[in-house]
Amino acid sequence: MNIRHIAKEAGVSVATVSRVLNHPESVAPATREKIERIMAETEYIPNWFARGLNFNKTATIGLVIPHILNSENMEIVKGAEDVAHQKDYTSLLCNVENDVAKEKKYIDNLIKRRVDGILLISSLLSEKDVLNIMDQNIPVVHIGEVTWENRLPVVSIDSKEGAYKATRHLLECEKKKIGVLYGTTPAVENSRKVKGYEKALKEAKIPVKDEYKIQVDDNIEGGYLGARKFLDMSEPPDAIFATSDLIAFGVMDAMKDNRISVPEQISVIGFGNIRMSNLVEPKLTTIEKPLHKMGVVGARLLFDLIEGKEDDGSGMKNIQLQSKLKIRKSCGHKERIGEMF
């Protein structure tokens, strides 16, 4: 069933049916009702792609994520999709797998498919690449910290501040030998997290030791291998700050294999507060990143641009959300929950 069939059935022109779909107020009520009835009876579904050609809208947005197996991304995507769904938009999910060439290819494809906007999550693209998309009049919003200041709207948290809070907590648990396992991507956030860690140590007048800073892959294996490296040292750390929950899970796994108990012998703190962090044993103390909210707010900024509502008095371009220390059981307070809620 297509628009021509509907027109024939109703005895009107294709243009009239089109007007019912796009400008119903311009069609006489009797004609409009008749056409709408036939569309309902025949279960006619408008061709949205063709609609996009006419209106320059396809009611789709692209969500470009670094890695689908990292559940941080999935929680952000869930938030964005919740908003898109409410707007009756379809989301195209592009899994970049930390490969900039793949990301560029996906972006090209999204543009060819005439998506109405693109939500980039911890993008690997350069500033020039991003500006290039924006210059094609495609709304773009970025979730995650960036180094450059430009027209690109950004939703983020302060990773340095979050890492500082994590390290402060380990210091408050009376740990003096604190190591950090930091991931490779996203590069900006990881380097800021290391800075936050260093800031807390310096404030506590504890020297920052280079051997206590190990870069690993941002996944469970990376955490496992990094932890083993720490354990092989002549003076291993008594606390580990992992820059993501996945790395922290790997650390806890390595400790289990080496019969080292968390938190009695070593403290572990993560970053992200993905759902699993509340299920591992002991439950992981971590820095809560408002992942779902970041997705929601990012999508909101994107739709403000798509709908031309970015100047609804707000003029808000960048939104920074708050991270929060979530004290559970992996750092020392075995009985006390501390300042949890």
Binding site: V83, V296, R300, G315, M316, I319, L321, Q322, K324, F341
Partner: protein
């Protein structure tokens, strides 16, 4: 009795506070129809979540509320505001969040959806850590400044009793450009514990509201009133027009009711508004401005107080049979029960005043 609060002309100073009772457009419309001078929406957040059940406990005087925030996303409030304002009336949007940009975004959206003012709630005791934003004057300044810069409508800051120095926070709010403050938000609480099962009445900390917090609200309003030149909306345990007047006499330009409406329904608004109007008419008072702050002149610091050598006196009306309330209540041992009266030892009585309040017949008074 009319009033002006943050530039809004209200036909009555009685405002419905932010809470589950103002959860959507229809509830707000009903409250306006019941006569409220303005209605404040339930607190709107960036990422609404589904509510817990149960979420409210009540012990006959005070309520514990663990309901978090509005479960309607900001997009949905466009329609709710349309419904809320469909019959006219003033609607103030309550927003809640943690960072300046987050709150500024919500504020500008709600302004666009037709809110007449913004109330920034950064002191909710539900689901927050102990360190609420409202206890940090510097952080408060940054937040309010950003919100004020992004909207053209007045911004009201909801203050919390849980601040070391509420006046300091109110000053920061004013400096940041707030048009007014409201005080106080509900207070972190646990309503009680079932000693048979060991279970608290609700499974997490909540906000305490209702009559028991009124004295705290009154003190907060008086404190802000005496220290900062900023319009104040009084909140906390208002159950009738007299309570509303107490707040106004301590400096409030308007007041908010919440828990009393939750327990008694929207008709409670009409009752308070009408009683207040009757009282004002009987005194020939037209506007809150005529009585606002009237009690403040009687509120002195310790060193300013003139101490009169008063002691307790009986009016010699017969006592209730077997009543010894004043005898028990006199820690100075100055009162002796007689056949049908009491005898007060002039040398022992120190004029503390307890007996005045414990006598069920109200037959004692302080004089000299």
């Amino acid at each position: 009795m009319n009033t002006t609060f943050v530039g809004l002309k209200l036909k009555t100073p009685i405002i419905l506070s932010a809470g589950p009772w103002s959860r959507d457009g229809l509830s707000i419309k009903r409250a306006l129809e019941a006569g409220a001078g303005a209605v404040i929406t339930e607190s709107i957040v960036s990422d609404a979540i589904i509510d817990v059940r149960p979420r409210i406990a009540y012990n006959g005087s005070g309520a514990q509320n663990i309901r978090l925030y509005s479960d309607i996303q900001i997009e949905g409030w466009e329609r709710e505001m349309e419904i809320a304002k469909s019959a006219g009336g003033i609607v103030i949007a309550s927003i809640s969040g943690h960072t300046p940009s987050e709150l500024a975004y919500l504020a500008s959206k709600m302004e666009h959806f037709g809110a007449d003012a913004i109330e920034v709630s950064v002191s909710n005791p539900m689901g927050e850590s102990l360190e609420i934003l409202a206890s940090d004057a510097d952080q408060m300044y940054l937040i309010i400044k950003e919100v004020v810069e992004h909207v053209d409508i007045p911004v009201i800051v909801k203050l919390s009793q849980t601040a070391t120095n509420i006046a300091k926070v109110a000053k920061a709010a004013k400096k940041a450009g707030a048009a007014g403050v409201s005080a106080i938000n509900s207070i972190r609480c646990i309503l009680g514990v079932d000693i048979e099962t060991g279970e608290p009445m609700l499974p997490t900390y909540g906000g305490y509201s209702g009559a028991p917090i009124r004295p705290l609200g009154l003190a907060a309003v008086a404190t802000v009133s005496q220290t900062v030149n900023i319009p104040i909306c009084g909140i906390g345990g208002i159950e009738n027009y007299k309570n509303a007047l107490e707040y106004m006499m301590l400096g409030a330009s308007a007041v908010q009711v919440g828990t009393a409406v939750m327990i008694n329904g929207f008709e409670k608004i009409r009752e308070i508004v009408e009683d207040l109007d009757r009282w004002a008419d009987s005194k020939g008072i037209k506007s809150v401005a005529e009585i606002r702050g009237k009690a403040l002149t009687h509120l002195k610091s310790f060193d300013e107080m003139k101490v009169e050598p008063v002691i307790s006196h009986s009016n010699h009306e017969p006592c209730l049979e077997d009543c010894k309330a004043c005898v028990k209540g006199c820690i100075y041992g100055a009162i002796t029960r007689l056949e049908s009266d009491v005898e007060i030892d002039k040398n022992r009585c120190t004029g503390c005043g307890v007996c005045i309040f414990v006598c069920p017949e109200k037959k004692l008074s302080l004089r000299w």
